[in-house]
Symmetry: C2
Subunit: 439 residues, 2 copies
């Protein structure tokens, strides 16, 4: 008998009809002889509605109270889904994060799971119950409710799968799996059968919205095999697991674009030791998530320093930086929101040289100007104008042959030329995976 | 420094605007130098909406799950009200029933409070916090959430007041206090300054909706002084407390009508020992709330047996009774929903004879037929046609002089005649208390 942890997101349980469908899906998994633990998000827009209500009474609501408030969404959802299971004759019981034994640290709004005591869940599983756990929440050391932040229910599911030594953690979504690129931008994008944790992590941190980094990281650390799959149709999804030799060989596994970044540039910075350290220490202290950093070559002891931050942290960045601009005697601070970060990711880069060159060549052939570059062992990111982002993704997708299986062999040699035809399906490719982006 | 427990019902916190108003009220109590613990119900129709949603996925939802679901309404409400207090600069913290230390028994949907550990509340009070507790809920011995049933938040408030040894438990409502009769039926009805626990208990069990019996019983057992008062205006309400000599002398304190009763009649019952016991044992086992019982005089060893049950338990009563009808060889079972129970209540009855006679006389003068009668030491109830109920209440209200202070002295001697003018204000009466029945 296998043990599955299944996680259903808010859009999969948006109303009574959805609840019934999800319940049917769970019943089928149970009937097939599996033990099932379900993690469920709040129904549809419940969380947003609760926050909107909170802001009506207090524009800056207290974090502890927001956590208490938001957590009710998942609690309600787990009870309703359990009732829907009962209606289908499935033995089931709901649990709050606390009842499920999920203990978190003292942070609010983005608490980290510290420990899971799965005894109660295990007892109910042994009694033949499907256990439906409210995602996104846990009990902290002060016996207060805290939530895990964006994508928190994914993390709940992975953490439970690890604690219960589940055979698989299935993340059921309104997409069929992890795609080589966003199918709304690239019609030829295809669903991957497998992807390595590291690749998924890089894609997630580069703007792919399919999974949150924290959940993937947790899965990697505990060796939990993830499966991202459709909640609407029963068919295999994408397995996220440790890199192994059986995985399809691809130099590039996927392409991500992130349009929610802004570039901050400190102009006329005196090129002295310790200046950069002061700047990034201040930003780190303010919890501002700096991604890419570029410093120009110094001319006459003066340089420019650029870095990217999430668009919604521009105001905060300005507040932190403005006193510093004076202190370090810089000439000024400018922001540019009209940028996008485009990244190519793949463990195949480790054994293939020239990938970066090829990427730059393709972009040049498409007359796309590169403003910043960063690389890791398995990722290359560039900052370009946001209006160029879709074209860049399509060009790279085609040039690296991502629309076809065994992309390695089929990768066209003259990337520059191929990229011009990015929007058309390559001749030998399979029929493009249909984009499934339901509301 | 006094300690108040204040309870706000669902209609008092129905939306953000109401929340802000309630927060202002709490701030004022705090500014006046009091410690304040607040108990809050779910916002407006939240509970009904949650149940409706549950019924969409399962017509007969599991009780444990319904409890988990419903409890989220009060949790959300307590967090929102706490945020509204913060917005006014009031130090405040929300608590679930569990965090407030409320332990209940193993029953679902109408759990009883078994113990309260007020340590955490006391710690926060000492730190200067207003503590906002989610009403209606507690944690049971299985570490499951259970709710306290109708009026459960009142019970939470009273129980907390007892555990904290509060100076007063204020129940803030959309009415100004406890009235001599329903002001919507009797324009002359006036707000009482005080009422004894026993009287309030009888009125509550006779259909007065202002307080639930359980909360009053709890208050009586623990000597908690209750004050029922308006949540809209700051003015004294009605004190519910131990009967004492300072209380205004009134033979009748109030009149209640309950139109949600039905009369069941078992026709042609063989008059044998043990038959009645079998019937009422079966009804008790099914948790059916039998109120009044009348057995006709036996003729030729055959009798009729009538009893009243809540209207919404007719179907259940029929299910329980039908096999019994055959077993005991009765001729049949009939129901009559067109009845009402009208009750007059007052500790003054103890020292005044002839109250029952006077009541029957007034009804007779109004040509209202009495179908059943029950009495207690401080209450007389009659079952009449439901279409006669309003007229009966008005006639009794006038005849017993309830519209005026010191009703005892002013009570008209010829009740029969006076009752005919029931709808008009007695000459010497104060201006009638205005009915405050807001939504």
């Amino acid at each position: 008998m296998a043990l599955f942890v299944q996680k259903y997101g808010g859009s999969s349980v948006a109303d009574a009809e959805c609840m019934r469908r999800v319940a049917g899906r769970i019943r089928d998994a149970r009937r097939a002889g599996n033990q099932v633990v379900v993690v469920v998000s709040a129904m549809g827009d419940t969380t947003d509605e609760l926050i909107a209500l909170a802001k009506q009474v207090n524009p800056e609501p207290n974090e502890r109270e927001i956590d208490s408030l938001m957590a009710t969404g998942e609690m309600a959802s787990s009870a309703i889904l359990t009732m829907a299971l009962h209606a289908l004759g499935v033995k089931a019981i709901s649990m709050t994060g606390q009842q499920a034994g999920i203990r978190v640290d003292a942070t609010h709004l983005k608490a980290k799971i510290q420990a899971i005591n799965p005894k109660r869940i295990q007892r109910h599983l042994e009694q033949g119950y499907v256990v439906v756990v409210a995602g996104f929440q846990g009990m902290n050391p002060s016996e207060d409710i805290a939530t895990l932040g964006r994508g928190g229910s994914d993390t709940t599911a992975v953490a439970l799968a690890a604690a219960l030594k589940a055979d698989r953690c299935q993340i059921l979504k309104d997409v069929d799996g992890v795609f080589t690129a966003n199918p709304r931008v690239v019609p030829e994008a295809r669903k991957l059968d497998e992807i390595a944790y590291e690749e998924m992590l890089e894609l997630a941190s580069c703007g792919a919205e399919v999974l949150q980094s924290r959940a993937v990281e947790y899965a990697k650390n505990y060796g939990v095999v993830l499966e991202v799959m459709s909640s609407f149709e029963v068919k295999p999804g994408t397995l996220v697991r440790e890199e192994n030799k059986q995985m399809e060989k691809m130099i590039i596994r996927g392409i991500a674009a992130d349009k929610n970044q802004a570039k901050a540039t400190l102009v006329g910075v005196p090129d002295q030791p310790g200046v950069a350290a002061r700047i990034f220490k201040a930003l780190a202290n303010a919890n501002i998530n700096v991604d890419m950093i570029v410093q120009n070559v110094s001319a006459a002891g003066i340089t420019d320093l650029s870095f990217t931050v999430p668009e919604d942290e521009i105001a905060k960045t300005r507040r932190v930086m403005e006193p510093l601009v004076k202190d370090i005697q810089a000439a000024g601070l400018r922001f540019n929101e009209s940028i996008a970060k485009v990244s190519i990711v793949g463990v195949g880069m480790r054994s293939h040289s020239g990938v970066a060159y090829k990427m730059f060549d393709i972009l040049a052939a498409n007359k796309i100007n590169i403003e910043m570059i960063t690389t890791s062992e398995i990722k290359i990111s560039v900052v370009i104008r946001d209006t160029d982002a879709d074209q860049a993704v399509r060009a790279l997708h085609a040039a690296f042959g991502l629309g076809r299986k065994s992309a390695k062999k089929a990768a066209p040699k003259k990337a520059g030329k191929a990229s011009a035809k990015a929007c058309k399906s390559p001749k030998k490719a399979k029929a493009p995976a249909k984009a499934r982006q339901r509301k």
